[in-house]
Amino acid sequence: MSLSESRHLAQRLLTYEAVGETSEPAEYAAFRVCERLRQPLITLAGVAGFRSLLSRALTLARAEAPSLSAVQVAADGSLKGLDALASQTDKKQARDGGAILIAQLIGLLLTFIGEGLTLRLVQDVWPEAAFNGRVSEKEGKA
């Protein structure tokens, strides 16, 4: 999966979370994606493992989206600084920053465990979403 594809996948996750059943504004979608990925990744890698990954993703994302400097990774692996991000930037910047963060997190997973396992993890978290196209396509080829 190329960089653009991982960004595309991140964007699809964000879109899915943005239009989901939530009262939160769309610019918080990245936080919801992180939150939904947090538990299965903690189960797999532990809190420390997930925190390390997310911290690295955040560092990489900040290089592209400085507005993310207000965001931090808490001890339990959750993101904090949500309100600060929303207040410091406009909605588009916040959404873009979130997309970059998720793309970096997906990119790290792709780097470490590969496309197959990453897509499977995503599929497990959003079984109802339409990401199954790609996973199913791969399974069909196997």
Partner: protein
């Protein structure tokens, strides 16, 4: 109690080729096992292989990781193995990280967490990797009694929930004594890895196994892209039914030699052809295998010093067509890559080929090449393993001809430089001899366990038709086997004189 009244212990496949046989048929279901060994010995890979071989969505494998290799990295590396089925991840095989519980809480909390997951998933397989970490943590904060109680409760829980369990740990052998983990466990599988000279030797041992008999001793194994592959010391031959000895004689393809052997080689014998370099051992062996194919006996040739294509072409130069039977799967020429083989691994490769084509004849050319192809650490096991293979194969009717190079001596007549003569039923000795100012060749049948044989010493040549025995026995010479015979009808040391450098005679002027 009759056999029918006894509980039947199901055996689970390990997914490791060769390991089920070592275990006596597979892993006893619901057993509580330890996989022990030093770092890098293959413990985690073995545990993964077992998990992937048995896990289903209905009876998944729960893989608890604790402070060992980070789970992300473990997945990164383990997915490189062919047994790693990505489709099973988070479905049939579930990884659960317990590091934090172990770090922050006590043994009760660890047990509670495992219990919660086990009751939720109803797993068929449970792995705790590394359990050593749990024990280390416990030793720091709990008494020995508490630790033992924890292990017993864990074993009770997992057995009650019908899980087959594997605790993976980095242990050293001295820890077996007084360690409650080993006391409670039903099975203890120990993996070893040792560097010997330039080679790495991997071995495994079933130190303990309740409920069924395993194959005792150390078994070699290899880790490849497919994971572990084990090679049982019994070479998979333990269950073979010995064949009633045959009275059939097999032609070696050299009519005069057949006569010397009393009509050919008794079927199921092990024959050793010994001689110096260039005496025609390989040619004779090729004639034996070619004659077998001509008579409908499929054959295997194991070579170490030349590739199959070269071997077949060389046979062609003696008028022996090995290419056609190779194509027809009546002949397999195995070239075993040199220098890092284990004996049992090599034996398994030979045995697989024997089974595959139903071979009746086997040539090993040569034993010296075979030994040299082994990793240095395995050479000590060579004779023992060779003995096991020869005994088992000849027992089921395969006739084996091995060649061995001996140093030509003009003071001795050794059968072999190895102490392997005892492995053979029959010995044919080839040697050089000085006759009439020429380096000629003689052969003699030294031994035939199955019966009488010719005592003649016969001269032979290697012609375009292979080994051909010339004329009758050499009756005019004494001391042929010394290599420097004396012609009986000539005076004194005629032969010696012939071959001694002539003293320079100074001309008297």
């Amino acid at each position: 109690m009759s056999a029918a009244d006894k509980v039947k212990i199901n055996k689970l496949p390990t997914g490791v080729p060769g390991f089920d046989e070592i275990l006596g048929g597979g892993l006893p279901e619901f057993s509580f096992n330890i996989i022990a060994g030093a770092p890098g010995s293959g413990k985690t890979t073995l545990a993964h292989q077992i998990a992937f071989a048995n896990a289903t969505p209905e009876r998944p494998a729960l893989y608890f990781t604790i402070l060992g290799e980070p789970a992300i990295k473990m997945l990164r590396y383990q997915q490189q193995y062919t047994f790693f089925d990505q489709a099973k991840l988070n479905n049939a095989v579930r990884f659960i990280n317990l590091s934090q519980v172990v770090l922050e809480k006590d043994l009760d909390a660890v047990l509670e967490e495992i219990t919660k997951e086990v009751e939720k998933a109803s797993p068929g397989i449970v792995v705790v990797d590394s359990f050593r970490t749990v024990v280390r943590k416990a030793v720091g904060g709990a008494t020995e009694v508490e630790l033992q109680a924890f292990i017993q409760r864990l074993a009770l829980l997992l057995t009650s929930w019908q899980a087959t369990t594997f605790l993976v740990g980095e242990y050293v052998e001295g820890e077996i004594r007084d360690n409650p983990v080993f006391t409670v466990s039903d099975g203890l599988f120990w993996l070893y890895q040792a560097a010997e000279r330039n080679s790495v030797v991997r071995k495994l041992q079933i130190v303990k196994q309740r409920g069924q008999a395993s194959v005792p001793g150390l078994h070699t194994f290899r880790i490849t892209h497919a994971g572990l592959q084990a090679f049982s010391r019994t070479l998979g031959l333990a269950g073979l039914v010995r064949k009633i000895p045959s009275t059939r004689r097999l032609s070696i393809g050299i009519p005069e030699l057949d006569k010397m052997l009393g009509g050919g080689i008794p079927e199921g014998d092990s024959v050793l052809v010994a001689g110096a370099s260039g005496t025609g051992k390989s040619v004779l062996a090729t004639q034996f295998i070619a004659e077998g194919i001509r008579q409908g006996d499929p054959g295997i040739v194991v070579v170490f010093e030349e590739r199959p294509q070269e071997y077949a072409e060389r046979a062609g130069s003696f008028g022996l067509d090995l290419k056609t039977p190779r194509k027809e799967k009546k002949l397999e020429i195995l070239y075993l890559r040199p220098l890092d083989l284990s004996v049992d691994e090599t034996m398994h490769e030979i045995l697989d080929a024997v089974r595959e084509i139903g071979a009746k004849r086997l040539v090993i050319d040569s034993l010296a090449g075979f030994e040299m192809a082994l990793a240095p650490g395995f050479r000590a096991d060579f004779r023992e393993s060779l003995y096991r293979m020869i005994t088992a194969l000849t027992g089921v009717g395969v006739t084996i001809l091995s060649t061995v190079e001996v140093n030509e001596s003009f003071t001795e007549f050794p059968f072999s430089t190895y102490s392997i003569s005892f492995l053979t039923d029959d010995i044919i000795r080839l040697r050089y001899v000085c006759i009439e100012g020429q380096l000629r060749k003689i052969m003699v049948v030294i031994k035939m366990r199955g019966g009488n044989h010719s005592k003649d010493v016969r001269e032979y040549e290697i012609t375009s038709k292979g080994v051909v025995i010339m004329g009758d026995r050499l009756t005019d010479y004494q001391g042929l086997i010394t290599g420097i015979p004396v012609h009986l009808n000539r005076s004194g040391n005629h032969e010696e004189r012939l071959h001694k450098p002539k003293a320079k005679t100074k001309s008297r002027k």
